[in-house]
């Protein structure tokens, strides 16, 4: 059981970092209280992991062959990388950290499944772009519906609140379904966990991270990059959830951070790029670039001194 703690640590750091992506807009725009949103998100993450977490685990566990010791080191180095980024208040990709760490192991073992890796990297590029396109599509569609309904102030308010709760729950479900693989796939690959227990441990540990340490990154996503009005917050959440859920069916764990940042930029593009804070965007992009490199370097260093 002890080696699994590395995975739990990674799940915790993933939850702490990625919760901002599913409940950040709702909490930052003060539509939902943090505690309510975090509890709700944790439950839906667990549901997503249990019901649809299998496919991502299959992809990641096949990227390289590793033993249990290497699996533990991979998850610890990925977790440290994500935690460092969380302390730095940057929404980063846990998938990138995990894949970076797996590649570090793969370099040592001289075995990397290039087809699987190609699929993963392609999806990394596709995630923010997909998030941006999805946000534009969802924005335009919901705008038409909203304007047709011609709601009064109180009805519009009520609808946005309901929509936000639904979108946050769906986002959390998609996060659990897609990202449980990041947490425990290495242990499945090392033959230490079955897929059902991997999804359960993945879901629970992500939920724990959301409940205990996710408030820090939330501010970056919710208000520093682009100031979101309630309607845009709803669109961003839906776009992110749909994008991530799409990749769950492809079988590749992707970053909710990248999906949501893409969605936020999509909204920024629709409303005029001047609304996007370029400095924050650059720091987020540099975080994305550094994440797999740091994770790979960390695991290589750990292997060397172990």
């Amino acid at each position: 059981m002890l080696p699994i703690l590395g995975g739990v640590f990674l799940g915790w750091s993933l939850g702490a970092n990625d919760a901002s992506n599913v409940i950040g807009p709702a909490v930052s725009s003060r539509m939902l209280r943090f505690t309510t949103a975090a509890t709700m998100a944790s439950l839906f993450v667990l549901m997503g992991a249990l019901l649809q977490g299998r496919s991502g685990i299959d992809t990641l566990s096949g990227l390289t062959r590793m033993n249990l010791h290497q699996a533990v080191l991979a998850s610890i180095s990925a977790a440290i990388t994500v935690t460092l980024m969380t302390i730095g208040r940057l929404p980063v990709s846990t998938s990138q950290a995990v894949v970076g760490a797996i590649l570090g192991i793969g370099l040592v073992n001289r075995h990397i499944d290039m087809t699987g890796l190609g699929k993963v990297v392609t999806c990394w590029v596709g995630t923010p772009v997909g998030g941006a396109i999805m946000a534009m599509v969802v924005y335009r569609t919901l705008a038409i519906v909203n304007n047709r309904l011609s709601l009064n102030l109180l009805e519009s308010d009520a609808l946005l609140r309901i929509g936000l709760v639904v979108a946050s729950s769906y986002g959390a479900f998609a996060l659990g379904a897609n990202n449980a693989a990041n947490v425990t796939a290495v242990f499945v690959g090392a033959g230490h966990l079955s897929v059902p227990s991997a999804t359960l441990i993945g879901g629970l540990s992500i939920g724990l991270g959301i409940l205990t340490f996710s408030k820090r990154v939330m501010v970056t996503v919710g208000s520093r990059l682009v100031r979101l009005d309630p309607f845009s917050a709803l669109v961003v959440l839906l776009a992110e959830a749909i994008t991530v859920h799409f990749y769950t069916f492809v079988g590749v764990p992707v970053s909710t951070s990248q999906a949501i940042i893409g969605a936020v930029i999509g909204i920024g593009l629709l409303k005029g790029i001047r609304t996007v804070n370029k400095r924050t965007l650059l720091s987020i992009l540099s975080g994305w670039l550094l994440t797999p490199i740091i994770a790979a370097a960390l695991v290589l260093a750990m292997l060397r001194y172990n």
Binding site: Y139, N146, L151, L153, L154, E155, D157, A158, L160, R161
Partner: protein, 215 residues
């Protein structure tokens, strides 16, 4: 789509009560001015001024009730801000009514005959602008379809009031009324003109609140 949460329905009911009360303030104000202009000798000006003050205070109380209810997190922060800003802006209208009546009462002003007809017209058009604003507020909490249309009409009423106001001031300063009285009357007329200006400002604000909800 007629789904509303309980607390939101309470906000709506309070806003309606606030508007009813505003109509009462407006009515007593109009009657007080009528009595000043000699149109309604049966009315006691002082009683009407006191009544206007009473209704104005009641409007403040209802506004506070709405504020307390909304800050118990009943609405989205943006909606709360919009509604409170709107109510504070509308609240300026009864404040102007009270100031006008208090000036007449404390300075013991009598409207000279040569201004009566124009002042009557100014008050009448200003009251029409207020009526339209109240309808616009109702529309904001119901369907919101007539808001732009009412905005145009209120804008026209405000321009009409500006013209009447300038005409009264010109007549006033062309006359041989005592210069000190001229200044007092001018202040009164400008304040009367402020009613339609404020109605126009409220109307624009309602339009923006409505537009913000169209994406």
């Amino acid at each position: 789509m007629r789904f509303l949460f309980r607390k939101q329905r309470m906000v709506k009911a309070l806003v309606e009560a606030y508007l009813d009360n505003l109509r009462n303030v407006q009515q007593t104000f109009s009657r007080a001015i009528d009595s000043c202009l000699g149109d309604d000798a049966s009315c006691d000006f002082r009683t009407l001024v006191d009544e206007t003050h009473r209704f104005e205070s009641r409007a403040d109380d209802i506004r506070e009730e709405i504020k307390t209810l909304m800050y118990s997190k009943v609405l989205l922060p943006e909606s709360r801000g919009d509604i409170m800003g709107l109510l504070e802006s509308i609240d300026q209208i009864p404040r102007f009514f009270e100031i006008v009546l208090n000036i007449i009462r404390t300075q013991k002003l009598a409207i000279p005959d040569l201004l009566v007809s124009d002042v009557r017209e100014l008050v009448s058009v200003s009251m029409e602008a207020c009526d339209l604003v109240f309808r616009q507020v109702e529309d904001l909490f119901q369907r919101g379809r007539r808001i732009p249309e009412l905005l145009d009409v209120i804008d026209k009423k405000e321009s009409q009031c500006d013209i009447i106001e300038r005409r009264i001031i010109t007549t006033l300063f062309d006359s041989d009324i005592d210069p000190f009285l001229k200044i007092q009357l001018k202040e009164l007329v400008v304040l009367l003109g402020d009613v339609s200006d404020q109605a126009d400002r409220v109307s624009k604000r309602i339009n923006i609140i409505s537009l913000k909800r169209r994406v």
